[in-house]
Symmetry: C2
Subunit: 226 residues, 2 copies
DNA sequence: CCGCCGTCTACTGTATACAGTATGCAATCA
DNA sequence: TGATTGCATACTGTATACAGTAGACGGCGG
Protein backbone atom coordinates (compact mmCIF):
# COMPACT_ATOMS: atom_id res chain seq x y z
CA UNK A 1 0.00 0.00 0.00
CA UNK A 2 2.17 2.85 -1.23
CA UNK A 3 -0.02 5.79 -1.92
CA UNK A 4 2.46 8.12 -0.24
CA UNK A 5 4.61 8.99 -3.18
CA UNK A 6 4.97 12.66 -2.47
CA UNK A 7 6.37 12.50 1.02
CA UNK A 8 9.94 12.26 -0.18
CA UNK A 9 10.99 15.62 1.12
CA UNK A 10 13.91 14.14 3.01
CA UNK A 11 17.25 14.55 1.40
CA UNK A 12 19.83 17.10 2.30
CA UNK A 13 21.15 17.18 -1.23
CA UNK A 14 17.68 17.92 -2.57
CA UNK A 15 17.22 20.61 0.02
CA UNK A 16 20.61 22.07 -0.81
CA UNK A 17 19.78 21.97 -4.48
CA UNK A 18 16.62 23.97 -4.19
CA UNK A 19 18.20 26.31 -1.65
CA UNK A 20 21.07 26.99 -4.03
CA UNK A 21 18.72 27.44 -6.94
CA UNK A 22 16.78 30.12 -5.19
CA UNK A 23 19.97 31.73 -3.91
CA UNK A 24 21.21 31.96 -7.45
CA UNK A 25 17.91 33.07 -8.88
CA UNK A 26 17.30 35.82 -6.37
CA UNK A 27 20.84 37.10 -6.39
CA UNK A 28 22.15 36.06 -3.01
CA UNK A 29 24.74 34.21 -5.03
CA UNK A 30 25.52 36.75 -7.74
CA UNK A 31 26.46 35.69 -11.25
CA UNK A 32 30.17 35.14 -11.57
CA UNK A 33 30.60 34.32 -7.89
CA UNK A 34 33.11 31.65 -7.15
CA UNK A 35 31.72 29.08 -4.76
CA UNK A 36 33.77 27.97 -1.80
CA UNK A 37 32.50 24.57 -0.83
CA UNK A 38 33.48 24.77 2.82
CA UNK A 39 31.93 28.16 3.44
CA UNK A 40 28.84 27.33 1.43
CA UNK A 41 28.38 24.07 3.29
CA UNK A 42 28.55 25.89 6.61
CA UNK A 43 26.16 28.52 5.35
CA UNK A 44 23.63 25.89 4.35
CA UNK A 45 24.21 23.77 7.42
CA UNK A 46 25.16 20.64 5.52
CA UNK A 47 28.43 18.90 4.85
CA UNK A 48 30.32 19.06 1.62
CA UNK A 49 29.06 15.77 0.27
CA UNK A 50 25.39 16.60 -0.25
CA UNK A 51 26.41 20.11 -1.24
CA UNK A 52 28.59 18.76 -4.02
CA UNK A 53 25.79 16.53 -5.23
CA UNK A 54 23.56 19.56 -5.43
CA UNK A 55 26.24 21.55 -7.23
CA UNK A 56 26.69 18.74 -9.72
CA UNK A 57 23.02 18.70 -10.54
CA UNK A 58 22.96 22.44 -10.93
CA UNK A 59 25.83 22.18 -13.37
CA UNK A 60 23.80 19.88 -15.61
CA UNK A 61 20.91 22.27 -15.18
CA UNK A 62 23.08 25.07 -16.51
CA UNK A 63 22.90 27.37 -13.50
CA UNK A 64 26.53 26.99 -12.49
CA UNK A 65 29.73 26.01 -14.16
CA UNK A 66 32.40 23.56 -13.06
CA UNK A 67 36.01 24.45 -13.69
CA UNK A 68 38.25 21.43 -13.38
CA UNK A 69 40.31 21.74 -10.27
CA UNK A 70 39.08 25.24 -9.55
CA UNK A 71 35.63 24.52 -8.25
CA UNK A 72 32.29 25.96 -9.20
CA UNK A 73 31.24 29.38 -10.42
CA UNK A 74 27.78 30.83 -10.81
CA UNK A 75 27.33 31.12 -14.52
CA UNK A 76 27.40 34.75 -15.55
CA UNK A 77 24.38 36.06 -17.40
CA UNK A 78 25.15 36.13 -21.08
CA UNK A 79 23.22 37.46 -24.04
CA UNK A 80 24.15 34.41 -26.06
CA UNK A 81 22.74 31.95 -23.56
CA UNK A 82 19.59 33.95 -23.11
CA UNK A 83 18.94 34.32 -26.82
CA UNK A 84 19.55 30.65 -27.40
CA UNK A 85 17.29 29.63 -24.53
CA UNK A 86 14.57 31.99 -25.60
CA UNK A 87 14.72 30.76 -29.17
CA UNK A 88 13.85 27.26 -28.03
CA UNK A 89 10.47 27.94 -26.52
CA UNK A 90 8.86 29.07 -29.80
CA UNK A 91 10.07 25.77 -31.25
CA UNK A 92 9.14 23.46 -28.41
CA UNK A 93 5.92 24.90 -27.06
CA UNK A 94 3.94 24.95 -30.30
CA UNK A 95 5.17 21.45 -31.04
CA UNK A 96 3.93 20.34 -27.64
CA UNK A 97 0.60 22.06 -28.19
CA UNK A 98 0.24 20.29 -31.53
CA UNK A 99 0.89 16.97 -29.84
CA UNK A 100 -1.59 17.85 -27.13
CA UNK A 101 -4.25 18.74 -29.62
CA UNK A 102 -7.07 21.15 -28.87
CA UNK A 103 -7.58 21.40 -25.11
CA UNK A 104 -10.74 20.33 -23.42
CA UNK A 105 -13.28 23.02 -22.60
CA UNK A 106 -12.62 22.65 -18.91
CA UNK A 107 -8.96 23.29 -19.51
CA UNK A 108 -9.74 26.32 -21.61
CA UNK A 109 -11.86 27.79 -18.87
CA UNK A 110 -9.13 27.02 -16.36
CA UNK A 111 -6.71 28.87 -18.58
CA UNK A 112 -9.07 31.81 -18.70
CA UNK A 113 -9.22 31.98 -14.94
CA UNK A 114 -5.48 31.65 -14.58
CA UNK A 115 -5.04 34.50 -17.00
CA UNK A 116 -7.33 36.68 -14.93
CA UNK A 117 -5.20 36.03 -11.89
CA UNK A 118 -2.12 36.81 -13.94
CA UNK A 119 -3.53 40.16 -15.03
CA UNK A 120 -4.10 41.24 -11.46
CA UNK A 121 -0.86 39.79 -10.11
CA UNK A 122 1.22 42.09 -8.00
CA UNK A 123 4.95 41.69 -8.05
CA UNK A 124 7.36 40.26 -10.54
CA UNK A 125 7.79 36.92 -8.84
CA UNK A 126 4.09 36.25 -8.74
CA UNK A 127 3.62 37.33 -12.34
CA UNK A 128 6.38 35.06 -13.62
CA UNK A 129 5.10 32.20 -11.52
CA UNK A 130 1.61 32.59 -12.92
CA UNK A 131 2.81 32.97 -16.46
CA UNK A 132 4.78 29.75 -16.16
CA UNK A 133 1.77 28.03 -14.64
CA UNK A 134 -0.39 29.23 -17.50
CA UNK A 135 1.91 27.79 -20.12
CA UNK A 136 2.24 24.58 -18.20
CA UNK A 137 -1.51 24.21 -18.05
CA UNK A 138 -1.77 24.99 -21.73
CA UNK A 139 0.51 22.07 -22.56
CA UNK A 140 -0.73 19.75 -19.84
CA UNK A 141 -2.45 17.54 -22.42
CA UNK A 142 0.79 16.83 -24.23
CA UNK A 143 1.50 13.12 -24.07
CA UNK A 144 5.23 13.57 -24.56
CA UNK A 145 6.54 13.79 -21.02
CA UNK A 146 10.13 14.24 -22.09
CA UNK A 147 9.24 17.22 -24.21
CA UNK A 148 7.47 18.77 -21.26
CA UNK A 149 10.50 18.17 -19.10
CA UNK A 150 12.69 19.90 -21.63
CA UNK A 151 10.38 22.89 -21.54
CA UNK A 152 10.39 22.97 -17.75
CA UNK A 153 14.17 22.89 -17.73
CA UNK A 154 14.40 25.78 -20.16
CA UNK A 155 11.84 27.71 -18.16
CA UNK A 156 14.00 27.31 -15.08
CA UNK A 157 17.06 28.56 -16.86
CA UNK A 158 15.33 31.59 -18.28
CA UNK A 159 13.66 32.53 -15.02
CA UNK A 160 16.99 33.73 -13.71
CA UNK A 161 17.21 36.26 -16.51
CA UNK A 162 13.65 37.41 -16.11
CA UNK A 163 13.98 37.90 -12.39
CA UNK A 164 17.29 39.68 -12.75
CA UNK A 165 15.67 42.11 -15.12
CA UNK A 166 12.60 42.58 -12.97
CA UNK A 167 14.76 43.50 -10.05
CA UNK A 168 16.16 46.48 -11.92
CA UNK A 169 13.51 47.44 -14.41
CA UNK A 170 9.78 47.11 -14.48
CA UNK A 171 8.86 44.69 -17.20
CA UNK A 172 5.64 45.57 -18.89
CA UNK A 173 3.31 42.67 -18.62
CA UNK A 174 1.71 42.13 -21.96
CA UNK A 175 1.44 38.41 -21.51
CA UNK A 176 -2.21 38.74 -20.55
CA UNK A 177 -3.21 39.95 -23.99
CA UNK A 178 -1.07 37.33 -25.71
CA UNK A 179 -2.74 34.63 -23.73
CA UNK A 180 -6.17 35.99 -24.56
CA UNK A 181 -5.38 35.77 -28.26
CA UNK A 182 -4.24 32.18 -27.87
CA UNK A 183 -7.40 31.35 -25.97
CA UNK A 184 -9.54 32.96 -28.63
CA UNK A 185 -7.98 30.72 -31.25
CA UNK A 186 -8.49 27.67 -29.08
CA UNK A 187 -12.12 28.54 -28.47
CA UNK A 188 -12.52 28.78 -32.22
CA UNK A 189 -10.95 25.29 -32.37
CA UNK A 190 -8.16 26.59 -34.59
CA UNK A 191 -5.01 24.81 -33.52
CA UNK A 192 -2.78 26.38 -36.15
CA UNK A 193 -3.77 29.89 -35.18
CA UNK A 194 -3.24 29.06 -31.54
CA UNK A 195 0.23 27.73 -32.25
CA UNK A 196 1.10 30.83 -34.24
CA UNK A 197 -0.13 33.09 -31.46
CA UNK A 198 1.77 31.02 -28.92
CA UNK A 199 4.91 31.37 -30.97
CA UNK A 200 4.51 35.15 -31.08
CA UNK A 201 3.84 35.19 -27.35
CA UNK A 202 7.00 33.31 -26.62
CA UNK A 203 9.08 35.53 -28.82
CA UNK A 204 7.72 38.75 -27.41
CA UNK A 205 9.52 38.78 -24.09
CA UNK A 206 12.89 38.67 -25.70
CA UNK A 207 13.59 42.27 -26.71
CA UNK A 208 13.49 44.06 -23.34
CA UNK A 209 15.72 41.51 -21.70
CA UNK A 210 18.26 41.56 -24.49
CA UNK A 211 18.32 45.36 -24.34
CA UNK A 212 18.87 45.24 -20.61
CA UNK A 213 21.61 42.63 -20.90
CA UNK A 214 23.32 44.66 -23.57
CA UNK A 215 23.24 47.72 -21.37
CA UNK A 216 24.87 45.96 -18.46
CA UNK A 217 27.30 44.04 -20.62
CA UNK A 218 30.14 46.57 -20.08
CA UNK A 219 30.09 45.85 -16.36
CA UNK A 220 30.68 42.20 -17.03
CA UNK A 221 33.75 42.87 -19.15
CA UNK A 222 35.65 43.35 -15.92
CA UNK A 223 34.99 39.77 -14.97
CA UNK A 224 36.03 38.34 -18.30
CA UNK A 225 39.20 36.58 -17.24
CA UNK A 226 39.95 34.63 -20.34
CA UNK B 1 33.75 12.71 -29.07
CA UNK B 2 34.24 9.64 -26.96
CA UNK B 3 37.60 8.59 -25.73
CA UNK B 4 36.86 5.41 -23.90
CA UNK B 5 40.44 4.73 -23.00
CA UNK B 6 41.66 8.05 -21.68
CA UNK B 7 40.57 7.44 -18.15
CA UNK B 8 43.74 8.91 -16.76
CA UNK B 9 43.30 12.49 -17.79
CA UNK B 10 39.83 13.22 -16.52
CA UNK B 11 38.61 13.17 -12.98
CA UNK B 12 37.51 9.89 -11.52
CA UNK B 13 33.87 10.89 -11.50
CA UNK B 14 34.04 11.74 -15.20
CA UNK B 15 35.74 8.45 -15.91
CA UNK B 16 33.14 6.60 -13.88
CA UNK B 17 30.38 8.42 -15.71
CA UNK B 18 31.51 7.41 -19.17
CA UNK B 19 32.37 3.93 -18.01
CA UNK B 20 28.90 3.52 -16.59
CA UNK B 21 27.34 4.97 -19.70
CA UNK B 22 28.97 2.42 -21.92
CA UNK B 23 28.24 -0.36 -19.46
CA UNK B 24 24.59 0.56 -19.63
CA UNK B 25 24.54 1.05 -23.37
CA UNK B 26 26.23 -2.22 -24.22
CA UNK B 27 24.28 -4.26 -21.72
CA UNK B 28 26.89 -5.10 -19.11
CA UNK B 29 24.49 -3.35 -16.77
CA UNK B 30 21.16 -4.68 -18.00
CA UNK B 31 18.03 -2.57 -17.90
CA UNK B 32 16.23 -2.96 -14.61
CA UNK B 33 19.38 -3.88 -12.73
CA UNK B 34 19.61 -2.52 -9.24
CA UNK B 35 22.95 -0.88 -8.59
CA UNK B 36 24.85 -1.67 -5.43
CA UNK B 37 27.16 1.26 -4.80
CA UNK B 38 29.79 -0.70 -2.91
CA UNK B 39 30.09 -3.49 -5.45
CA UNK B 40 29.98 -1.11 -8.38
CA UNK B 41 32.64 1.08 -6.83
CA UNK B 42 34.91 -1.91 -6.39
CA UNK B 43 34.21 -3.06 -9.91
CA UNK B 44 35.20 0.32 -11.29
CA UNK B 45 38.12 0.75 -8.95
CA UNK B 46 36.91 4.01 -7.43
CA UNK B 47 35.34 4.90 -4.13
CA UNK B 48 31.68 5.57 -3.61
CA UNK B 49 31.99 9.33 -3.71
CA UNK B 50 32.97 9.82 -7.37
CA UNK B 51 30.72 6.92 -8.28
CA UNK B 52 27.74 8.64 -6.73
CA UNK B 53 28.54 11.84 -8.57
CA UNK B 54 28.57 9.89 -11.80
CA UNK B 55 25.29 8.20 -10.92
CA UNK B 56 23.73 11.53 -10.15
CA UNK B 57 24.68 12.89 -13.53
CA UNK B 58 23.37 9.81 -15.27
CA UNK B 59 20.06 10.29 -13.50
CA UNK B 60 19.68 13.75 -14.97
CA UNK B 61 20.70 12.26 -18.30
CA UNK B 62 17.86 9.78 -18.03
CA UNK B 63 19.90 6.59 -18.20
CA UNK B 64 19.23 5.51 -14.65
CA UNK B 65 16.62 6.18 -12.03
CA UNK B 66 17.03 7.14 -8.39
CA UNK B 67 14.69 5.68 -5.84
CA UNK B 68 14.91 7.64 -2.63
CA UNK B 69 16.44 5.48 0.04
CA UNK B 70 16.62 2.48 -2.23
CA UNK B 71 19.47 3.50 -4.47
CA UNK B 72 19.73 3.49 -8.22
CA UNK B 73 18.25 1.31 -10.92
CA UNK B 74 19.10 1.13 -14.60
CA UNK B 75 16.04 2.49 -16.30
CA UNK B 76 14.21 -0.29 -18.08
CA UNK B 77 13.65 0.09 -21.79
CA UNK B 78 10.14 1.33 -22.33
CA UNK B 79 8.16 1.90 -25.46
CA UNK B 80 6.83 5.13 -24.05
CA UNK B 81 10.26 6.62 -23.46
CA UNK B 82 11.51 5.53 -26.81
CA UNK B 83 8.55 6.90 -28.71
CA UNK B 84 8.77 10.18 -26.86
CA UNK B 85 12.49 10.48 -27.47
CA UNK B 86 12.16 9.59 -31.11
CA UNK B 87 9.38 12.10 -31.59
CA UNK B 88 11.67 14.90 -30.52
CA UNK B 89 14.29 14.60 -33.20
CA UNK B 90 11.89 15.41 -36.08
CA UNK B 91 11.02 18.55 -34.15
CA UNK B 92 14.48 19.63 -33.09
CA UNK B 93 16.68 18.69 -36.01
CA UNK B 94 14.77 20.50 -38.74
CA UNK B 95 14.55 23.54 -36.47
CA UNK B 96 18.30 23.43 -36.01
CA UNK B 97 18.84 23.04 -39.74
CA UNK B 98 16.62 26.06 -40.37
CA UNK B 99 18.68 28.08 -37.91
CA UNK B 100 21.87 26.86 -39.52
CA UNK B 101 20.68 27.82 -42.98
CA UNK B 102 21.93 26.18 -46.14
CA UNK B 103 25.28 24.53 -45.51
CA UNK B 104 28.43 25.58 -47.27
CA UNK B 105 29.52 23.57 -50.29
CA UNK B 106 32.48 22.20 -48.41
CA UNK B 107 30.16 20.91 -45.72
CA UNK B 108 27.90 19.35 -48.30
CA UNK B 109 30.78 17.49 -49.85
CA UNK B 110 31.91 16.39 -46.42
CA UNK B 111 28.42 15.06 -45.80
CA UNK B 112 28.57 13.18 -49.07
CA UNK B 113 31.81 11.51 -48.09
CA UNK B 114 30.54 10.66 -44.64
CA UNK B 115 27.52 9.06 -46.20
CA UNK B 116 29.71 6.92 -48.41
CA UNK B 117 31.52 5.65 -45.36
CA UNK B 118 28.19 5.00 -43.70
CA UNK B 119 26.98 2.93 -46.63
CA UNK B 120 29.98 0.67 -46.43
CA UNK B 121 30.09 0.49 -42.66
CA UNK B 122 30.31 -2.96 -41.18
CA UNK B 123 28.76 -3.56 -37.80
CA UNK B 124 25.95 -1.92 -35.95
CA UNK B 125 28.11 0.17 -33.65
CA UNK B 126 30.02 1.68 -36.50
CA UNK B 127 26.87 2.39 -38.49
CA UNK B 128 25.17 4.15 -35.60
CA UNK B 129 28.31 6.09 -34.85
CA UNK B 130 28.57 7.27 -38.44
CA UNK B 131 24.88 8.08 -38.67
CA UNK B 132 25.15 10.24 -35.57
CA UNK B 133 28.25 11.89 -36.96
CA UNK B 134 26.46 12.63 -40.20
CA UNK B 135 23.59 14.35 -38.45
CA UNK B 136 25.95 16.27 -36.22
CA UNK B 137 27.85 17.51 -39.24
CA UNK B 138 24.61 18.44 -40.95
CA UNK B 139 23.69 20.72 -38.07
CA UNK B 140 27.19 21.95 -37.30
CA UNK B 141 26.34 25.39 -38.65
CA UNK B 142 23.54 25.91 -36.16
CA UNK B 143 24.37 28.88 -33.96
CA UNK B 144 22.18 27.70 -31.12
CA UNK B 145 24.55 25.69 -28.98
CA UNK B 146 21.91 24.79 -26.44
CA UNK B 147 19.69 23.31 -29.11
CA UNK B 148 22.60 21.21 -30.33
CA UNK B 149 23.25 20.02 -26.79
CA UNK B 150 19.63 18.98 -26.46
CA UNK B 151 19.94 16.95 -29.64
CA UNK B 152 23.16 15.32 -28.47
CA UNK B 153 21.50 14.38 -25.20
CA UNK B 154 18.56 12.81 -26.96
CA UNK B 155 20.88 10.98 -29.31
CA UNK B 156 22.65 9.49 -26.31
CA UNK B 157 19.42 8.32 -24.80
CA UNK B 158 18.16 6.72 -27.98
CA UNK B 159 21.43 4.99 -28.74
CA UNK B 160 20.73 2.54 -25.96
CA UNK B 161 17.57 1.41 -27.72
CA UNK B 162 19.19 1.20 -31.11
CA UNK B 163 22.10 -0.86 -29.85
CA UNK B 164 19.82 -3.13 -27.85
CA UNK B 165 17.87 -3.86 -30.99
CA UNK B 166 20.94 -4.34 -33.13
CA UNK B 167 22.25 -6.92 -30.75
CA UNK B 168 19.22 -9.10 -31.39
CA UNK B 169 18.03 -8.21 -34.83
CA UNK B 170 19.74 -6.88 -37.90
CA UNK B 171 18.42 -3.43 -38.58
CA UNK B 172 18.22 -2.63 -42.23
CA UNK B 173 20.21 0.41 -42.94
CA UNK B 174 18.21 2.68 -45.11
CA UNK B 175 19.72 5.81 -43.69
CA UNK B 176 22.09 6.12 -46.63
CA UNK B 177 19.25 6.75 -49.07
CA UNK B 178 17.54 9.15 -46.71
CA UNK B 179 20.73 11.15 -46.41
CA UNK B 180 21.17 11.21 -50.14
CA UNK B 181 17.73 12.73 -50.54
CA UNK B 182 18.53 15.39 -47.96
CA UNK B 183 21.78 16.17 -49.71
CA UNK B 184 20.02 16.44 -53.04
CA UNK B 185 17.69 19.06 -51.62
CA UNK B 186 20.60 20.93 -50.11
CA UNK B 187 22.50 20.90 -53.37
CA UNK B 188 19.41 22.35 -54.99
CA UNK B 189 19.52 25.03 -52.27
CA UNK B 190 16.03 24.08 -51.13
CA UNK B 191 16.04 24.35 -47.35
CA UNK B 192 12.36 23.49 -46.94
CA UNK B 193 12.67 20.29 -48.92
CA UNK B 194 15.79 19.36 -46.98
CA UNK B 195 13.99 19.90 -43.70
CA UNK B 196 11.08 17.79 -44.85
CA UNK B 197 13.39 15.00 -45.96
CA UNK B 198 15.28 15.23 -42.68
CA UNK B 199 12.03 14.94 -40.80
CA UNK B 200 11.10 11.82 -42.73
CA UNK B 201 14.56 10.40 -42.15
CA UNK B 202 14.30 10.91 -38.43
CA UNK B 203 10.89 9.34 -38.28
CA UNK B 204 11.82 6.30 -40.33
CA UNK B 205 13.87 4.42 -37.74
CA UNK B 206 11.01 4.28 -35.32
CA UNK B 207 8.85 1.40 -36.53
CA UNK B 208 11.29 -1.54 -36.29
CA UNK B 209 12.41 -0.59 -32.82
CA UNK B 210 8.88 -0.16 -31.55
CA UNK B 211 7.96 -3.54 -33.01
CA UNK B 212 10.92 -5.14 -31.31
CA UNK B 213 10.16 -3.46 -27.99
CA UNK B 214 6.58 -4.56 -28.19
CA UNK B 215 7.67 -8.13 -28.83
CA UNK B 216 9.89 -8.23 -25.79
CA UNK B 217 7.53 -6.29 -23.58
CA UNK B 218 6.05 -9.45 -21.97
CA UNK B 219 9.43 -10.31 -20.52
CA UNK B 220 9.57 -6.98 -18.79
CA UNK B 221 6.23 -7.46 -17.11
CA UNK B 222 8.02 -9.55 -14.56
CA UNK B 223 10.01 -6.54 -13.46
CA UNK B 224 7.03 -4.26 -13.26
CA UNK B 225 7.64 -2.71 -9.87
CA UNK B 226 5.36 0.19 -10.39
C1' DC C 1 -1.06 -22.78 9.18
C1' DC C 2 -1.23 -17.71 8.83
C1' DG C 3 -0.24 -13.15 10.27
C1' DC C 4 2.10 -9.75 13.06
C1' DC C 5 5.90 -7.89 15.33
C1' DG C 6 10.71 -7.39 16.65
C1' DT C 7 15.38 -7.88 15.59
C1' DC C 8 19.12 -8.03 12.41
C1' DT C 9 21.55 -7.12 8.31
C1' DA C 10 22.94 -4.56 4.62
C1' DC C 11 22.67 -0.58 2.05
C1' DT C 12 22.06 4.30 1.38
C1' DG C 13 22.83 9.07 2.89
C1' DT C 14 25.99 12.06 5.34
C1' DA C 15 30.09 13.60 7.67
C1' DT C 16 34.85 13.89 8.03
C1' DA C 17 39.62 12.87 7.21
C1' DC C 18 43.30 12.81 3.74
C1' DA C 19 46.00 13.92 -0.36
C1' DG C 20 47.14 16.36 -4.35
C1' DT C 21 47.21 20.61 -6.64
C1' DA C 22 46.32 25.44 -7.81
C1' DT C 23 47.36 30.09 -6.14
C1' DG C 24 49.22 34.00 -3.99
C1' DC C 25 53.17 35.96 -1.82
C1' DA C 26 57.68 36.75 -0.93
C1' DA C 27 62.47 36.33 -1.49
C1' DT C 28 66.25 36.06 -4.55
C1' DC C 29 68.60 36.82 -8.73
C1' DA C 30 69.42 39.23 -12.98
C1' DT D 1 63.32 47.22 -10.51
C1' DG D 2 61.29 43.31 -12.69
C1' DA D 3 60.93 38.53 -13.25
C1' DT D 4 61.25 33.98 -11.66
C1' DT D 5 61.15 30.46 -8.47
C1' DG D 6 60.27 28.36 -4.06
C1' DC D 7 57.11 28.11 -0.24
C1' DA D 8 52.94 28.45 2.41
C1' DT D 9 48.08 28.20 2.32
C1' DA D 10 43.82 26.86 1.14
C1' DC D 11 40.71 24.55 -1.69
C1' DT D 12 39.18 20.76 -4.52
C1' DG D 13 38.85 15.77 -5.43
C1' DT D 14 38.72 11.32 -3.24
C1' DA D 15 38.51 7.90 0.36
C1' DT D 16 36.63 6.23 4.43
C1' DA D 17 34.13 6.18 8.66
C1' DC D 18 29.55 6.72 10.77
C1' DA D 19 24.60 6.75 11.30
C1' DG D 20 19.97 6.05 10.09
C1' DT D 21 16.70 3.33 7.71
C1' DA D 22 14.47 0.04 4.71
C1' DG D 23 13.80 -4.71 3.92
C1' DA D 24 14.32 -9.60 5.24
C1' DC D 25 13.90 -13.17 8.22
C1' DG D 26 12.54 -15.61 12.10
C1' DG D 27 9.98 -15.99 16.42
C1' DC D 28 5.65 -15.59 18.63
C1' DG D 29 0.73 -15.25 19.00
C1' DG D 30 -3.68 -16.27 16.82
Amino acid sequence: MQSSESLQRTSLSDAAESALRSMIVDGRLPAGERLNEVHLAERLGVSRTPLREALNRLVTEGAIEARPGRGYVVKPLSIEEFEQLYALRPILDPAALRLAGLPSFSRISKLGKLNQKLRTARGADAAIELDDAWHQELLAGCPNQILLELIVGITRRTRRYELALMREARLVNQAGDDHERILAALRARDLDAACAALERNLKSGRAPIVAWLRAREPKQRKESAR
